[in-house]
């Protein structure tokens, strides 16, 4: 698991000669290979696949969800799980949208919405670390409550936010050069969190806590604080994602993100995060999102019958995880 952690130090200092060996040993190599094969197949299957516009659209389709995946991966590593991500993302949209329609400046409204999501994360963290309940059941309850708040705030009706100022919409709809800002934000977030998670002392504690909470506590790590913070961080990132979605679609939908949690967790797990905590990488999780997203886009591009799509998607998910597991097990 998370081999880029255990092997990098071992391999470091041996220079670029070992780069290939290092790549072959990386946890993510199997996944990259699977995605690569998919790309090759698709390039032959459809002339439209390997075009700039299609690539951009594919990335746009998962970029914002990718930010949620980052939070979920870190939470999974610390030993938690969060089913409320979909509702909390919707809540961010709804709160910010509602405040904006009530006359609040959209930037301030977004700040308040992200703060509200962070607060919800803190409440979950409280119930998990202080009361001692399981993440699963707490986040399930919060998922229902957050959805309820969305409905209550909007009367169940989507909020039309076409009047958002252009500089705000730019977050979701603008481009810098040929590259949409959303993609830039996504890449910056991925690189930043991937580095932090692998290299900083603060985030290493997340691994220790998830791997063996007692051992971590005996080493003086405030494991409850760690879990509290990862829980809060995940919700805060949902808040950020919600704001970006709002800027992108120019509306706030109280029913947004239904079922998102399973997609996000699946991506992290495909990417090597363990549901028992202690292992996982951002890079891997993002590869997981890419895989799921490329499969969906490809099925649409090939105009596969709707009724077959679910079957194919599920089978590819199962196959990918099995192949990855097999490769990883053999390599050890």
């Amino acid at each position: 698991m998370s081999a880029n952690i255990s092997t990098q130090p071992a391999a470091s200092g041996q220079g670029s000669a070992s780069l290939l060996a290092r790549l072959l040993h990386m946890r993510e190599t199997g996944l990259i290979a699977i995605i690569f094969v998919l790309f090759v197949v698709m390039t032959f299957a459809s002339p439209y696949f390997l075009t700039w516009v299609n690539m951009r659209a594919m990335v746009m389709a998962f970029a914002v969800e990718g930010i949620v995946v980052i939070g979920m991966t870190i939470l999974l590593i610390s030993g938690g799980i969060d089913l409320s991500v979909g509702s909390v993302t919707a809540l961010a949209m709804v709160v910010a949208g509602w405040l904006f329609l009530a006359g609040v400046d959209p930037w301030v409204a977004s700040g308040i919405a992200i703060a509200a999501c962070t607060g919800i994360g803190a409440i979950m963290g409280y119930f998990v670390t202080r009361v001692g309940l399981h993440h699963f059941i707490v986040s399930l309850a919060i998922m229902v409550i957050a959805r309820g708040i969305c409905l209550l705030a909007t009367g169940g009706r989507p909020l039309g936010l076409f009047t958002l100022p252009p500089e705000f919409k730019f977050i979701g709809q603008g481009s810098i050069g040929p590259i949409p800002l959303v993609i830039i934000i996504f890449i910056v977030a991925v690189v930043a969190f991937d580095l932090m998670l692998r290299k900083t002392t603060v985030f290493r504690k997340v691994f220790y806590t998830g791997s063996n909470e007692r051992a971590a506590a005996y080493s003086g790590i405030r494991t409850k604080k760690v879990v509290f913070l990862t829980t809060t961080l995940c919700s805060a990132l949902c808040g950020v994602a919600g704001i970006i979605y709002m800027a992108r679609f120019g509306s706030a939908q109280p029913t947004f993100g239904l079922g998102m949690e399973l997609n996000v967790i699946a991506a992290a797990v495909i990417g090597g995060a363990s549901l028992n905590g202690g292992t996982g990488t951002i890079f891997g999780a993002i590869l997981g999102v890419v895989l799921l997203s490329v499969v969906s886009s490809s099925l649409a591009l090939l105009d596969v019958s709707v009724y077959w799509q679910d079957i194919i998607r599920g089978s590819i998910l199962l196959a990918a995880v099995s192949i990855d597991h097999y490769l990883h097990k053999r390599r050890r």
Binding site: S46, Y48, F49, T51, V53, N54, R56, A57, M58, M60, A61, V64, E65, L151, G155, G156, R157, P158, L159, G160, L161, F162, Y245, R248, F249, G250, S251, Q253, P254, T255, F256, L258, G259, S293, S296, S297, S298, A300, L301, L302, D303, S305, V306, Y307, Q309
Partner: protein, 312 residues
């Protein structure tokens, strides 16, 4: 006796599934307005879940109050046959709307004509992009009215405009991000795509974003409406939306169930009275649909409409 007015406390229920869905809001407004005119009480009930077991439980719970009638949106036809018939036997009249349970003893069924919507949409598409072009649809398999809007349009095209080519058909299940993804791929795969038909508004929000980003010249038409798609209609990004007359659905629905409960005012020229049928049988009422375009968009802002009205 002999007049059409409610006794004090006479109550009518409107029972739906996914009760938080905004679609019901104007329907219930119509239902209430009609009830108010006859001095009747109303209750909005149902289940927040997409779950037939729960909806049946909520329907059976409605019966505990012995309402005079229920305007019901049955999630599925057959499972409701037995509960509807039992309710009628115990003195509660049932009328269905937007989805039917045809084999039950409900007295009437009020709905939009999904076939007519699909026909209208097909003709509009052809009139805009010609009768030998490419088009695509998004869909939501498993939800009957959405299914009908899509399949009817496709078969209408096949029958009347054989040169129209269906080049994409994707399930997006009312999820705007899934619709974004699917539409983006369809547009990529079919550079000559002329139009896209979407049976609900949630997917339309994602589809319009994808088409704008691809800078493709694709005509978008969809059914239902949300504030975001309304804005896109105003801005010309969406060509047109077809919206069922929800208010009429509720208003007519109330009238039908109210009349069924007061059928004693009516003695028609048939055998219903002697054979024990409710004489207020109406096989089917079409509540019609509205066409939303750039010009009339302002009348379709639900939030504006609901201002000052009770949401409950």
């Amino acid at each position: 006796q002999g007049t059409l007015a409610c006794e004090p406390g006479e109550t009518y229920v409107m029972n739906v599934m996914v009760s938080s869905h905004p679609y019901w809001v104007p329907v219930y407004q119509g239902f209430r307005q009609a009830a108010a005119a006859f001095g009747c009480e109303t209750i909005f009930s149902g289940t927040p879940d997409y779950d037939i077991t729960r909806q049946i439980a909520s329907f059976e719970q409605d019966m505990v109050r012995s309402p005079a009638g229920v305007l019901l949106h049955p999630m599925q036809a057959d499972p409701f046959i037995e509960p509807i018939n039992r309710a009628i036997e115990s003195g509660t009249e049932i009328v269905t709307f937007a989805a039917d349970s045809p084999d039950s003893n409900r007295t009437a069924y009020i709905t939009s004509d999904n076939l007519a919507e699909a026909r209208f949409a097909a003709e509009e598409i052809v009139s805009q992009i010609g009768d030998s072009a490419e088009y695509a649809v998004l869909e939501n398999p498993g939800q009957s009215n959405h299914d009908l809007r899509v399949t009817a349009l496709i078969s209408y095209m096949e029958e009347h405009y054989p040169n129209m080519q269906l080049v994409g058909r994707q399930a997006t299940n009312q999820d705007s991000n899934a619709a974004y993804r699917a539409t983006a791929s369809i547009v990529q795969a079919n550079p000559n795509l002329g139009a896209i038909w979407i049976p609900e508004a949630g997917s339309a929000e994602g589809a319009v974003a994808a088409i704008l980003e691809a800078e493709a010249d694709v005509l978008i038409m969809h059914a239902d409406v949300t504030p975001a798609t309304l804005e896109h209609i105003r801005a010309g990004n969406i060509h047109m939306a077809l919206n069922p007359n929800q208010g009429m659905q509720g208003f007519m629905g109330f009238l039908a169930v109210f009349m069924a409960a007061h059928s004693d005012v009516f003695d028609p020229f048939n055998d219903y009275q002697s054979s024990g049928f409710n004489p207020m049988q109406i096989p089917y009422v079409d509540n019609g649909f509205a066409v939303i375009t750039q010009e009339n968009a302002d009348s379709f802002d639900l939030n504006t409409y609901m201002e000052g009205r009770d949401t409950d």
